[in-house]
Symmetry: C2
Subunit: 421 residues, 2 copies
Amino acid sequence: MRPGLVIPFRRESAPATPAEVRPLDRWLGRHLQGTLAPVHVGLRLWDDGPAGECREPIGELVVGDRRTLVGLIVHPELYFGETYTSGRLHVRGELGRVVEALSRIRTPSTPSLIERLGLWLTPANSERAARRNIHHHYDLSNDFYQRWLDPDLVYTCACYPHPGATLEEAQAQKLDLVCRKLGLRPGETVVEAGCGWGALALYMARHYGARVKAFNISTEQLAFARERAVRERLTDRVEFIEDDYRSITGRFDVFVSVGMLEHVGRRRLDAMARVLRRTIDPHRGRGLLHFIGRDHPRLLNAWIRRRIFPGGYAPSLAEVIARVLEPADLSVLDVENLRLHYARTLSDWRARFSAAEPEVARHFGEAFCRAWRLYLAGSEASFTTGWLQLFQVVFAPAGGTAIHWLRPSHAGPARSARAAV
Amino acid sequence: MRPGLVIPFRRESAPATPAEVRPLDRWLGRHLQGTLAPVHVGLRLWDDGPAGECREPIGELVVGDRRTLVGLIVHPELYFGETYTSGRLHVRGELGRVVEALSRIRTPSTPSLIERLGLWLTPANSERAARRNIHHHYDLSNDFYQRWLDPDLVYTCACYPHPGATLEEAQAQKLDLVCRKLGLRPGETVVEAGCGWGALALYMARHYGARVKAFNISTEQLAFARERAVRERLTDRVEFIEDDYRSITGRFDVFVSVGMLEHVGRRRLDAMARVLRRTIDPHRGRGLLHFIGRDHPRLLNAWIRRRIFPGGYAPSLAEVIARVLEPADLSVLDVENLRLHYARTLSDWRARFSAAEPEVARHFGEAFCRAWRLYLAGSEASFTTGWLQLFQVVFAPAGGTAIHWLRPSHAGPARSARAAV
């Protein structure tokens, strides 16, 4: 899953002469400040007066009008994003720190009954809806992403070999880690579901001699990936195909999907199971899913679903095992949770995005910039505080023989010791 | 889970004058040979004549009488073990190879409706039943286990640092791997649920300076473990407690359980969830479960349940995550499947058991020896062919900070780089 183009916002600004602050507003403000005070976030109303008591605030929310105040009380998950984007809510202090503090108001524990009901009401992603959702995200402009991603345009969690590593080093490490976890060998066939700008497919062909078929439904990304394959003379080994993951046919030694499962949706996990069952070679095959996940089944943040990832769903690890891998008779070999690495990746993206903001604002406007700033800061906070997880799961057909005798080390080169059962 | 004393067998031998082989017997024999032929196992009836055609047999089953033949057709899972133990079924060829071939008749795919119904009919393990089951297994005689386990009496899957490693090296590697995966530090408190003969608890205290409370309900094992703690002057850091895992109270930095979850039973996974929730420190705590698991929820082999592990259940990975970790608000950090290492461990145990057989037979009789020989060979085959898995799962409270920045390598020393979120 990678952030993408948001649905265009209605441009709004705070009214020129804000309404008077009435006693009811003060009462609501005190109530809201009571919720925020334990995480040290202050609150001010539109007269710029403090809404209540807050000791040692690390930052402040400044509410621009009554509608914003009510929205933040009634449905904070949605209206924080909506009003921050439209400029009716201001954040004083470092946005990342404030958003992280807000994520700590609740701990990511067992979902409430209402949250669980919400799960049942999410619609399924048809191929058409998937295409619409993906176009919204990824077909804005390659130029936009080039301004703040690494040069390979890897738009998923990196893996930092040491805390001082750069984003470029960490993305290269991640690509190689995926290949090593899969035990990829020269001449093997790979199918990739959701290939982004093609970095992993090209890496597998270049460094491991694999033959890769890479699927994607984002036209812009594919154009970039194909051009790169031509430039790097890898067209004989990498084929980029514009089609839905559900259209994948044929048998492969390796199935890989990095940051795409989140776009499948909760109601279509069975479709992914069918794809895995028919594409992975039953004897020597294996696969890897890299995805944003959860500790419990719960919907994505309401604002993120509305503005950033329509149709998106970050599944729990148990859901992926029970609903994708078990029905496909696949055995889990290895799971790694890289959530701290995603927090760090997002921190690096945020710094670069921040530097690119003037340019981005010129092209897409202030509201777009604010939405993206919040989206990146909120995602970083979610990985830091444990609301989101990043799982890499390696699997193979039950009883298959292509399994590692020893887990490939992170740091070292690919181990060749493999056991033939 | 560790094998243990089987329930005493009725001693039986083949009747002195076996009945005549009738046309119906031949017909049934041909039917059974038809099932065995694809995996190259031959079949002979009690007149020592081949029951049907089998090309290039790797071994042969010799059926001693009609009852055995019918049993093998009606309920092979149960009666193979029953009749092999009583001597009414002989195996010609290497037992391990033959049993492995038989495990390949079916692949470990999605359970049938009948298998799933069986899951619902298993009774729950009360504390009293647990005590009875565990005494049956582990309170026979420490001397028996000392004849064929490593000197530390580690009765769970080892981890071989390289294919040529000895059992002793691999068990030491496993104990250290558990400590490294947990990032254990001096002075930290550990609770161990099901400590066997105490090897891990003593290792953690000796090599990592941890303070360990270790629970077990096997009297014989505890006597051994306590004596060893006194001899090694570790009584100030390790306390062995004779009590059920459900009685664990207090908060600890680390929860660990190696080879015990299989004794909890499917209907008591929620009890384990409650123990985890109340014992792991919500901020700096973490835990590790090491258990025999499955790709799908299914009962243990019927003979194993009857003779070797009454009350035992090897849960699927998804069951453990959804029914033990999720309700306790624990986040999965790392999963490793070591099934090939358990196959290798069992192969090493088998070789040692084989050498000890004359002694064991003198003490416990021939039937006991045959049952154990089959139990060890069958387990090795199950891990080799993927009917059984061995999972090590590391977890921490959702949003907790005691999580590794980088996965500790298998081979190297403990990494100290840890991230404070």
